[in-house]
Symmetry: C2
Subunit: 515 residues, 2 copies
């Protein structure tokens, strides 16, 4: 087979894998939004059928022939003898960056999948499914003991998985790589220590002040109006309703059903107007990233976030740096009060701004403010590394959790349901996932700093109620590239530096006049 034909075939096979993934995403989206109650068992079978068909296509024997024909070696890079390969690049890709990234990602997906024995794939699917069900019950009944053996099994299987994918590699780093490509546990550990050192005085300083009181938050905010405002803000951000939509689900999420079909979800609570509002902004931030994928990556495996940390940076940027800024509310507060006049009588924009930025140590990660959020992540990061290395046993997890919260945030859960059972992640085998949430905050602040150098003060932009320049910058610098660049490389290209806590800490210090 000549190189040109092999390349076409590689692209066609990748497109099919991507397309099947998007059909699976529709099955899952429907399950969370509209599917009738009794359909869940059959839906699981439908999803499993397609996931199996997709897996077969990822590992079939043709790939290695095609890699040879195109001249792709062990690490997914073109062999020297075949590089530079003009056919690898399309005409818009003069540097060959897109072609090289395509080979890297397709090869990586294949290699990970072929190295994992079928039995392990099946064991993981079955055990994580059982473990999730056990988690639901154990959390409901605050009964950690019934979950512990499942967690132990999942951890062992995840370790087996990592060893199969990368026999020589560090177990935790291999797991991490599925979520934050190229990241390493020891580097993150150093990064998070630095972050913590900066956060502590900021938090202390904030907590030394009188607590902010905002009785208007206890009012009842009609859900239809919350939805109107949410859609208005998403439109303002640039979320294209012809290429996506907003629905309701128990847990907000963003998913991609096709290049022009990006769906975000939210949930509204009449008694907690911020819950839906910031979910709308957060998910639309993710949605903009997906809608912004450039023509050179669309429909391929490169049409995806560079990593979950970068993806989270897009949601956090809009949710916190924009959506919790004074400038944003200087523009939008009038509109907001017009929708909820009864709830906000006598409330000024400064009161409102203070209310959206209340900082308070709390037990539940998903309710945390932007200052304390990182503590929740750092606690989980340290505990999951210890669980993987064997330094911490599953039986000792609840105690270690309580100690950590006591140590870092000065509070302690009264039960495991509000403690180590609060998150679904570990029960699904998502070990190595949590750090990306904290990285998202760091990337967001670092990107915002770079952005301001180009387009000027964000406060000025948002006080004018203008999002065009911001979205333009995000698209050009980040969205369009999909996962052409690794997170590390993307961050360097955009900001001239590796990810580091300086910008996030500076942002917090300025905003809270603290630390």
């Amino acid at each position: 087979m000549n190189i040109k034909d092999a390349l076409e075939r590689l692209k066609a096979k990748d497109a099919e894998v991507v397309r099947l993934g998007q059909i699976i995403a529709l099955l899952e989206w429907d399950q969370e939004t509209y599917m009738p109650e009794d359909a869940s068992k059959e839906r699981a079978a439908q999803t499993a059928l397609l996931a199996g068909m997709r897996h077969e296509r990822i590992i079939d024997a043709e790939w290695s022939d095609l890699f040879s024909a195109v001249g792709i070696g062990e690490e997914g890079a073109l062999n020297e003898s075949s590089a530079p390969n003009p056919q690898a690049a399309d005409s818009a890709d003069s540097a060959g960056e897109v072609g090289a990234a395509f080979f890297r990602e397709v090869h990586k997906r294949w290699k990970k999948a072929v190295n994992v024995p079928k039995k392990l794939v099946e064991d993981l699917a079955r055990e994580t499914s059982l473990s999730q069900s056990a988690w639901v019950n154990s959390r409901k009944n605050d009964d950690y003991d019934s979950f512990a053996p499942h967690l132990a099994t999942v951890i062992e299987l995840e370790k087996e998985y990592a060893a199969a994918v990368s026999p020589e590699g560090d177990i935790y780093d291999t797991l991490l790589d599925d979520y934050e490509p190229g990241a390493r546990g020891d580097q993150l550990s150093v990064l998070f220590d630095e972050l913590l050192k900066g956060l502590n005085p900021i938090l202390e300083s904030i907590l030394s002040r009188p607590a902010v009181s905002a009785p208007f938050l206890n009012q009842s905010y009609p859900i239809d109006k919350q939805d109107i405002f949410g859609k208005r803000i998403q439109e303002f951000m640039g979320f294209d309703a012809k290429r996506g939509r907003l629905d309701l689900s128990a847990h907000p999420f963003t998913t991609t059903l096709g290049p022009d079909d990006i769906r975000v979800t939210t949930r509204y609570d009449e008694r907690n107007v911020f819950s839906g509002l910031f979910s709308n902004i957060h998910e639309a931030g993710h949605g903009l990233y997906e809608q912004g994928m450039g023509l050179s990556v669309r429909g391929t495996t490169l049409a995806d976030g560079a990593g979950l940390g970068i993806h989270e940076s897009q949601s956090r940027f809009w949710e916190n740096i924009v959506g919790r800024s004074r400038a944003f509310w200087d523009f939008w507060f009038h509109d907001f009060t017009t929708l909820f006049p009864d709830c906000l009588e006598g409330v000024g924009v400064e009161d409102f701004y203070r209310a959206v930025n209340i900082v308070r140590p709390s037990l539940i990660r998903v309710d945390a403010d932007e200052v304390t959020y990182s503590y929740h992540i750092i606690i989980r990061f340290r505990l999951e590394r210890a669980l993987i290395s064997g330094d911490l046993t599953v039986d000792d997890l609840p105690g270690a959790w309580r100690e950590s919260y006591k140590k870092y945030l000065g509070i302690e859960p009264m039960n495991d349901a509000d403690g180590c059972l609060q998150d679904v992640h570990w029960s699904c085998g998502l070990l190595g996932y949590f750090p990306t949430y904290a990285l998202g905050n760091l990337y967001a602040a670092q990107f915002a700093n770079a952005m301001e150098k180009e387009i000027g003060s964000l406060d000025d932009v948002f006080r004018r109620g203008d999002s065009g320049a911001v979205l333009g910058w995000l698209r050009r610098e980040i969205h369009e590239h999909g996962r052409i660049h690794t997170p590390e490389n993307l961050c360097r290209r955009v900001t001239g530096d590796s990810v580091n806590p300086t910008f996030f800490l500076d942002y917090l210090r300025t905003k809270y006049r603290a630390g």
Copy 2:
């Protein structure tokens, strides 16, 4: 391979084909309900990908080996040497009916698919897609000439398809078999002549009376209340909201996404309250059939209507025989007026009953009343048979259409958009489909007659606001069996007779005191 293993494998392969079909149904349901505007091109590619994968599974080489191993001969029946085959039947299937039907249907699906050359499958997919687009435009611009060549191509391809499926068979009968298994054009022709002979005096008699006037129909009926009433009626009928749901779409339809996931759609028009109301009842009638599939057929190719005529009988029974009956409204009218007090001031149940039963020859099939509806179908049936046989050319279709309407209904369309361009069916290659709509009316009346012999007068039942006995009878006699029986056999089992117009004509004569 022993018989038992071969049988298990057959069942597993069938389950996969069924499941893929239901995933395709989700893609299509989503396209008609929630999919964002710009996603249609990619959605077409996703649907095509899965349809291709499903087709591959229907025709793969394993089937004929399995048929041999189980002992299935040419027509999908067990060979004498292997019958009776105890493994073919599960324990609930003592007569072996389910097993035999399963073999018949799986074999038929395979045989039809393997006999059609791949090129013809692709030609049909491409040309019907082009033809549908051409139809949309030609209808919009009332420009039949731009559609005619596409229609000619589709007819030729449908003829090729029929010849490939059944080289010895009658072309029209082969096409018909895809929608009404076992039906024959010449028999339908006789049946429809008889129907017509009975309908003419009924229609004449009705038209000789003063026209019914119902000014309250021109009021504005709030859509949220139409939706409340529609859901209430669907619940009353027995449509299970835990195993299905109601959504909005441009054209109402029912689709099956899984054994416990039956979705119906409707559309509401503030100025036409009957449009949504009778769509809700009609589609829930289809939905009940799908929700009622018995345990012995669930998840297999037998979990489907016996044919489209039988399927339509379920929707027509509820829509017309129940939903347009005086007894039904004696019970529901109070509830209805409570929802729309402004629209129905001074209107009595008799006025309302007359309004839901206005009979008037009209040009558009989907707006037709239950008396004139069959004329629309008979016209189409005769024209499509003539198009297939070559007695009518595509160029002469518009004229023949006008003549037919003049002859049968005494009215003539002013343009082709309201004439031979009004239906999408032929543009998609659905030739042989129309007769099932008229058969639905006949089956419905014939079933209702049999039902009343067992459970007593339907009027009594519905005047009490009770649907349990009716649904119970439908489930036991029709729904549970899926397509175990052919339409002909099912009709005989349930009513003791072949389908015939007597019951429908009697029903109309009694209801309209006419003919």
